[in-house]
Amino acid sequence: MNWIVRNLWLVPVLPLLAAGISALAKRKSRAMAASLAIGSMAISFLLSVWAFAHVLLLRSNGQATQQVFNFRWFQFGNEWLSLGWILNPLTAVMLVMVTFVGMLIFIYSVGYMEHDDNFTRFFCFLALFASAMLGVVIANNLLLLFMCWEIVGLTSYLLIGFWYEKPSAAAASKKAFITTRIGDLPFFLGIVWLYAQSGTLLFYNNGAGCLESTSINHLLTQPTPLGFCSATGIALLVFCGAIGKSGQFPLHVWLPDAMEGPTPVSALIHAATMVAAGVFLVARVYPLMSAHSGIATELTTSTALQAVTWIGAITALFGAVIAVAQFDIKRILAYSTVSQLGYMMMGLGVGGVAVGMFHLITHAFFKSLLFLGAGSVIHGCSGEQDIRRMGGLRKLMPFTFATYTVGMLALCGFPFFFSGFWSKDEILHAAHSWNISQAPYYMGAFAALLTAFYMSRQMFYIFGGKSRLTESSEGHSHSPVSPDHSSHHGSNSPHESPKVMTVPLMLLAPVALLLGFFGTPAWPWFQSFLDATQLAVDFGALSEGSMLPVMLSSSVIVLLGLGIGWWIYGRRPIKSAEAPDNLGKLSPPLFTFLGHAFYVDALYGATVINLNTQLSKISDWLDRWIWNGAVKTVTNIVLGLAHLDNFLDTHVVNSGFDEGCQSVSRSGQILSLLQAGRIQGYLKIVAGAGIAFTLLLLWKAKI
């Protein structure tokens, strides 16, 4: 347990400190913020490289390449909840990738954001994001991972809504946070369920961790009312978190809208690191995902992994199909990211951790390269994002064109030289040899074809033909241009971006090229590094089994895609911005249907959001009328009783009493008439009475 493992926490904490200092600093100096962020990322990068080297060292002298450091956080009841971090090949690789890409993007964004007035706040958020992402990577405890996961969600919310004056940016950030949170809640339930079943959330705790065999077997034995064992239940719930964060099929709606944020943000968060967190999560809890009981366990795959594969395959195809019909440069790349993430999930599902992760790493590099390239194109075209109004940038922005082409070819998986080819090929090979069904393989292949097609479409739109930027400026209004870019350029003819932006492109391009060779079937260094298996160079692997046919077919597919792209878009240069898309001409309704991404947004708006507003209206109505109504009726009843009582008092009792008194006094008056003061009158009465009395006596004596 040497120094680096014990102090691995430095990697995420340094950017956090940078973020804290630049946030709390009194005078907001740009230089300080930028240098702090980039400095901290640089140090973290060095530390990650050191950790990587340490793992390599361990691997070379055959020791266990997984080291864990746990500490106790707080106590409730009689047990302590403890957190920790872990250094294993997966962590090492991810650390290096995140820090390297992050650093490059930080440098790039210094140039990109120089005209923005809340520059310091941007870097503070970027640093905060980097620390959270690194926290997710090194966490050895599912709860710590979840906490960093939510903070990553927060920073993506803050960064998407960075230009908060734009209502669309504000709405997009809220949408992003809520959609990911919808994914996070089942994840949270999964965590709580896991803790309830296995008693701990630590992944590896020398035997007692939740991912270790004892607790996995325990989970396998626990039945759930829904039929499958609790291991699968928890795995599926955790996968929901991954779906939310990595923009898989049901919850992908937020990713294209997240393009509202500045391009470095899209590059860093919505291409390389954050969206990959979902894939990384699945990779991290792979033992749990892949655990399944049954006879020949190595032959069948667990239901969880099947779900992952199917969701991945659907998303890959879905993303690719939509990307074909987009016009915003960043939305094309966003949907391509969605599709590539689908690939990674499929890779994890069919091939295992190594396959998925290899594509993740290669994708991170070439997709961030593409995004940064797009950024410099937008920067060059003074904020223009619609590809129909670009064109002819080949000559005007040579560096960007060159690096962009490298990224494009890597993404399409151009045979042999580009990293995309090897990593995608691994996935297709694994899918091909998947024993459950061949459908994912075909979906993957078709998606690869579409990927090649839409990327070539984009290339021809942006770099082919002559520039359509000037022609459009007096035409209809610009698409929503980021506020601080539009005017300052003066001459709006596209020009190459400054050095500080093109240098990162230059650095990323070779990596996008060479990285593929680390994982070729002939020399599977990357796979052996992750799976801690022995490494042996043998070129025969290339041809054994179904590897060769798959490789050939995929390269044919790519070439076919590029050809079709050239055929439709390359042959005749696109004349004007208003001209309908060539593909669109073939089948306009289908094209617009795809353009609106299968109207999924509208569908969600109509169903989920509408349900929400209806339910809120109902509960508000319920509150005002039912509960408040009940209280009001009670009060009214009481008031009614009070009024009734008052009525009774005034009319019945009072008046009754008055009447009584009046009758008494009236009768009194009548009686007083009798007492008229005339004595003879009295005598007469006495005499009368005497007569009556004697008559009575006599009459009585008679009978």
């Binding site: 007469k684 005499a687 004697t694």
Partner: protein, 166 residues
């Protein structure tokens, strides 16, 4: 029904009727004394000499004179207005008639059983005195007390206003 009884009865009735109906008050008192004297005679005829003489002594001697005095003293009042409302006088006479009818009917139908004519009872004065002193001593004392109280009361009432209220 002896003649003397009828004769005495007639004088009593006329005396008392005149006393009640004459306008001049003095004539009324005189008629009254006539009536009372004839009544005393009736007592004597019934054999109650002591009562007869007491009657003469008390009623004729004292009460009639007292009435005369009272009339004399209140003569200065306004002339005796006899115009009392006729309905007032008629109703009074009517009631008296009804009373007489009832009593007469009662006497007529009730006394048949007592027609026994016993021997003339003797009422010598010493027996009356003995009876007074033995059986009726308590009423005698009370009457004595009553008479003194009446005497003082009448005196005070009739006394002059100013001296009385000191």
């Amino acid at each position: 029904m002896t003649i003397t009884f009828l004769l005495l009865a007639a004088t009593t009735i006329t005396g008392t009727a005149a006393a009640m109906s004459l306008k001049n008050l003095v004539h009324c008192v005189l008629a009254l004394t006539l009536g009372l004297v004839s009544l005393a005679a009736l007592y004597l005829q019934l054999g109650a000499q002591f009562v007869g003489f007491t009657q003469i002594l008390v009623y004729v001697g004292a009460v009639a004179i007292l009435a005369a005095f009272a009339i004399m003293m209140t003569r200065s009042a306004e002339p005796a207005v006899l115009t009392g409302s006729s309905s007032f006088r008629v109703s009074g006479a009517l009631i008296a008639l009804v009373v007489f009818a009832v009593l007469g009917w009662a006497v007529w139908s009730g006394t048949g059983a007592l027609a026994v004519l016993g021997p003339e009872p003797e009422a010598p004065v010493n027996e009356i005195g003995v009876a007074l002193m033995h059986r009726f001593v308590l009423p005698l004392e009370i009457i004595g007390l009553l008479l003194t109280a009446a005497l003082i009361g009448a005196g005070i009432l009739a006394m002059d206003e100013t001296r009385r209220t000191k």
